[in-house]
C-alpha cells in the first residue's frame, strides 16, 4: 500500500464508527463483534452473501435499530444521505418527482433543479413518482440523498436491477461526488467479485468481518473466494482472463480478492483453514 495514502487516511476525520457490534435475531447470531470506521473522502464497499448481516449492520449504522451490544459513534451533526434499495410509494398519494424531492429536509427549489440537472433527470420533475422506471427511480432516490448535503452517503445495492450502462454511469459519478463534496461513501452489494474500482476498502461480511482490503488485485489467488462455495474458481485455477477483459472494457469495475483464513460450515460454525 502506498504509504502517503496511509498518512492521508489517518488525518481524515472519522464520520462514523462502530465497535463490538453484536446482533441476534431469535437464536441466530447475525452480527458478531463488528468493528468498523468510515472516514471523510473514503469509499467503502460492504459485500457479503444473502443473510450475511449486511442489512442489519446498515440499519444499525443508520440508527434505525439498536445493536444488542456494542456502540456506534457518529461525528457531531453528521448528515447521512441514504439511498434505499427500493421504495414503493402508494398510488393513493399524488406525488411528483419534484414534490418528492422537496420532502428532503432543507430542500429548496433551486437545489432540487440543480441535482435533477446534474443527474440528467430534469424531464422527470413533474412525473408522478409511481410511473418511473427502476433506473429513473434510482436516480431520483440518489438525488434525494444528495439534497440533504450529506457528509456520508449510503447506497444500498445501488446497481441491482440497473443495466450495465447505468451501472457504469453511477460508478463514474460516485468518485466525482466524493471529490466534490468530500463525503464518505458506503456501498452495499451482494456481488462478491466485482466492486467499484474507486473503492478504497472492501469489507467482506458474513456475520463477522471475514476479510477486508483494497480491491485492485485483478490477478487471482488460488484461495480466491473459497468461502462462498464457488468451487469453479478452484477448478479453473487461473480465472483472470475474463476478469482482465472486464477491467479493460469497464474501468469503473474492479475485482476483489478474498483472503480468508476460515470457512463457514453449513451449521453456522466457523472453522479455521490455516495450514
Amino acid at each position: 500500500m502506498n504509504p502517503d495514502l496511509a498518512v492521508v487516511k489517518t488525518e481524515a476525520e472519522v464520520l462514523i464508527s462502530a465497535s463490538g457490534i453484536n446482533q441476534t435475531w431469535g437464536n441466530r447470531h447475525v452480527l458478531q463483534n463488528i468493528d468498523l470506521a468510515i472516514s471523510e473522502n473514503e469509499i467503502v464497499t460492504i459485500i457479503g452473501p444473502n443473510g450475511c448481516g449486511k442489512s442489519s449492520l446498515l440499519r444499525i449504522l443508520l440508527g434505525l435499530n439498536a445493536p444488542d451490544s456494542g456502540k456506534v459513534t457518529r461525528r457531531k451533526g453528521l448528515r447521512i444521505g441514504y439511498m434505499p434499495q427500493k421504495l414503493r410509494i402508494d398510488d393513493r398519494l399524488p406525488l411528483s418527482v419534484a414534490g418528492f424531492l422537496m420532502l428532503a429536509p432543507g430542500a429548496r427549489k433551486q437545489r432540487v433543479a440543480e441535482w435533477l440537472e446534474r443527474l440528467s433527470i430534469t424531464a422527470l420533475a413533474e412525473q408522478p413518482v409511481q410511473r418511473l422506471s427502476g433506473g429513473e427511480w434510482q436516480r431520483v432516490l440518489l438525488a434525494r440523498a444528495l439534497l440533504i448535503e450529506p457528509h456520508l452517503l449510503v447506497l444500498d445495492e445501488p446497481v441491482q436491477g440497473v443495466d450495465i450502462q447505468g451501472q457504469r454511469e453511477l460508478y463514474q459519478l460516485l468518485p466525482e461526488l466524493r471529490n466534490e463534496l468530500g463525503c464518505g461513501i458506503v456501498l452495499v452489494s451482494h456481488d462478491l467479485h466485482l466492486v467499484m474500482a474507486q473503492t478504497d476498502r472492501v469489507i467482506c461480511l458474513n456475520g463477522h468481518v471475514c476479510c477486508s482490503g483494497h480491491p485492485d488485485q485483478v490477478s487471482i489467488s488460488p484461495e480466491y473466494n473459497s468461502l462462498f462455495g464457488h468451487e469453479k474458481s478452484h477448478q479453473h485455477g487461473q480465472h483472470d482472463v475474463p476478469l482482465a477483459l472486464t477491467s479493460e472494457l469497464a474501468p469503473e469495475l474492479a475485482h476483489y480478492t478474498h483472503h480468508h483464513d476460515h470457512k463457514h460450515c453449513t451449521d453456522g460454525h466457523i472453522e479455521g483453514t490455516k495450514e
Binding site: L64, R92, L93, P94, I148
Partner: protein, 262 residues
C-alpha cells in the same frame, strides 16, 4: 338573530374542513380502521363521562386520546397483527360502553344520537369546540406538513433524514382522536371515518399534489355537508347519513370523471 340552521351548517362545514387534510393523511397512511376504532371506543368515553359527570365533549376527547396512545403502544410491543388488534379493541370497547351504560337505570341517553349523530342539536358551545379544535388541528398539520408527508412516504427514510417520526405519528394519532371526538355529534360514531375517508378518496383522481388533494378533500367534504343538509331538510332524512350519502355520490362522480378522462 341567528337562523336555527346556521349553527349546524357552520359546524358541519368546520368538521368537513378539518377532515380534508387529516382524512388525506388517514388514507395515505392506511389509518382508516384506526379512526373506526377510536370512534367505537368513544362510546366508552361517553359512559365514563356520565359516570364521572364530566363535560361530554371533554370526556370524549380524553377517552379517544387515551385509546389512541394505547393503540400506538400496543402496535409496537405486541406480536398481534395490527388489524386484529384494532378489531378486538374496536368492538370490545363499543360493547363495554353499551354494557356499562345499561347499568344506569336513571340515565337515559339517546344512543341513536351518538351512533348516527345529530347535527341539528349542535349548540354554540359545540361550535366553539369545533372552531378551536379545528384551528389547532389545521395549524399543527400545516406546521408539521413536510415531516408528516416525508414519514408517510417512508418512515425509515424520514427517520434517517432526522424527522421526529415517532413524535409525528403520535401527534397525528392524537389529532385524529380530537377530530373524532368533536365530530361525533355531527355524523356519529358509525360514520366518522366515512367523513374522513370518502372526500379524500374522491379528491385523489383530481389532484396532482398532496396539498391539492388535502384542500380538495375539504372542499368536497363541505359540498357534501351542504348537499346532505339540503337533502335532509327537503326529504326529512337523518342529517348525518345524508351527508355521507352525498359524499359517496361525489366519490362516484369523481371516479366516473377519472375513467372518462382516461
Amino acid at each position: 338573530m341567528i337562523s336555527w340552521w346556521l349553527l349546524p351548517l357552520f359546524a358541519g362545514l368546520g368538521v368537513a374542513g378539518i377532515a380534508g387534510p387529516l382524512g388525506s393523511l388517514v388514507v395515505w397512511r392506511r389509518l382508516a380502521f384506526f379512526g373506526d376504532t377510536l370512534a367505537h371506543g368513544a362510546l366508552l368515553g361517553i359512559t365514563l363521562g356520565i359516570l364521572f359527570d364530566l363535560h361530554l365533549t371533554l370526556a370524549l376527547i380524553l377517552s379517544c386520546s387515551m385509546l389512541a396512545l394505547i393503540l400506538l403502544k400496543l402496535d409496537k410491543y405486541t406480536g398481534i397483527a395490527s388489524d386484529t388488534l384494532l378489531g378486538i379493541l374496536s368492538h370490545s370497547s363499543l360493547a363495554i360502553g353499551l354494557v356499562v351504560l345499561s347499568f344506569f337505570d336513571n340515565v337515559r341517553i339517546d344512543l341513536m344520537a351518538y351512533l348516527f349523530g345529530d347535527l341539528l342539536a349542535v349548540n354554540q358551545t359545540d361550535l366553539l369546540w369545533i372552531l378551536i379544535g379545528g384551528l389547532l388541528v389545521v395549524g399543527l398539520l400545516i406546521w408539521q406538513w413536510r415531516g408528516l408527508l416525508a414519514s408517510t412516504v417512508s418512515e425509515e427514510l424520514a427517520a434517517i433524514d432526522g424527522y421526529p417520526v415517532r413524535r409525528l405519528k403520535a401527534m397525528l394519532v392524537l389529532l385524529l382522536a380530537l377530530v373524532v371526538a368533536i365530530s361525533m355529534k355531527i355524523v356519529g360514531v358509525l360514520l366518522i371515518s366515512a367523513l374522513l375517508i370518502i372526500p379524500a378518496a374522491a379528491a385523489r383522481p383530481l389532484a396532482k399534489s398532496p396539498e391539492k388533494m388535502a384542500i380538495l378533500a375539504s372542499v368536497i367534504g363541505m359540498i357534501s355537508v351542504c348537499a346532505g343538509m339540503a337533502f335532509s331538510f327537503i326529504w326529512d332524512t337523518p342529517t348525518g347519513p345524508s351527508i355521507v350519502v352525498s359524499a359517496a355520490g361525489l366519490f362516484v362522480m369523481s371516479q366516473v370523471f377519472n375513467s372518462v378522462r382516461k
